[in-house]
Subunit: 193 residues, 2 copies
């Protein structure tokens, strides 16, 4: 579809689901945009990919989830930042990243078993096997939780890797440092409550 | 204004500019939402705060920046993830985060000196003093670059810190581990080009 066509630097883009899924399965948060009476809104939230869908969840009172569950047009971006790219010229400074953008309309998941599976998948994404190591939602808690699914049908990935662009002519001889500064996100030592 | 009112968990919110600025000055990327002919769009981009504005930049051909420069309604989210919050019950799992959401309309910066200052500020945000350690844009490069400013007037911050919510009743006695897993983003060893 036209809106998933990669306009800027299409050579960095991909519609390959394996590429898309790898980014979605590594990232912990997404940013969801939707129309509201006062213009577009974008909010961060945690998410999990379940098969061909991206799932987000929250309280019944959550206004964004309620809107998404009504099937409004939405756009979701998931971004991993991998490195700062420093070049000899200001113009060629960049960042290495892996990102996914998807367009689609959500729907609310009402089936209790599917809701439970989605919440367990989110727990297990965050910490391996966590769904077996906490008390899962009871019926009342499940009823107070919304789970919204967004289809991955209109998703695309965009990735920049590698060193800065090589400079041309006189710029190549400039004495400035050029290269990558990797950005690494790690988990620190657990802090018991 | 109504759209910056914090609806969910307002006790986590702040309209304090010092709080907002600290988050904006630490984060490397923002997610910008705007309306398009095919519905809302959200895309990631690097940014820098300059005084009371958030600045983003890119090529003249960049469609998002062109739209923003025309003054369409926009919403920007900046999110820092600080920790995974593990509770004894699935329901009380959460994340610690610091985020800013702002609403506003952008304008294109045309004055060459202001554009140059903005690009230098972005370089220096990413690496201290970098604007003195690379070749700055010449007139042709500057003309091929758009810089868009978005006002911080309608910005708010939202922050979660601290341990998981304490569990009630029988849940408090559950044998599961609860606490924080810190998420730390660090810069790795520079890799020369």
């Amino acid at each position: 579809m036209d809106r998933t066509r990669l306009r800027r630097k299409p050579q960095r883009g991909s519609h390959d689901r394996a590429v898309i899924d790898k980014i979605l399965d590594e990232a912990l948060i997404c940013h969801i945009a939707f129309a509201s009476p006062h213009g577009p809104v974008v909010l961060p939230t945690s998410f999990v990919r379940v098969g061909d869908e991206l799932h987000v969840h929250g309280a019944i009172a959550n206004a964004m989830l309620t809107r998404l569950g009504e099937g409004v047009d939405a756009c979701v971006a998931v971004t991993l930042l991998d490195a700062l790219v420093l070049a000899k010229t200001a113009l060629h400074h960049s960042v290495n990243y892996r990102s996914v953008v998807l367009f689609g309309r959500g729907h609310r998941i009402d089936d209790p078993a599917t809701k439970r599976a989605s919440l367990a998948a989110l727990l297990d994404k965050v910490v391996e096997n966590r769904s077996a190591e906490c008390r899962l939602p009871n019926d009342k808690e499940l009823a107070a939780t919304q789970v919204i699914a967004l289809p991955l049908a209109e998703a695309s990935a965009k990735i920049r890797t590698g060193p800065p662009l090589e400079e041309d002519g006189a710029d190549a001889a400039l004495p400035y440092w050029a290269g990558l500064i990797p950005l690494v996100t790690t988990r620190g030592l657990p802090v018991p409550a």
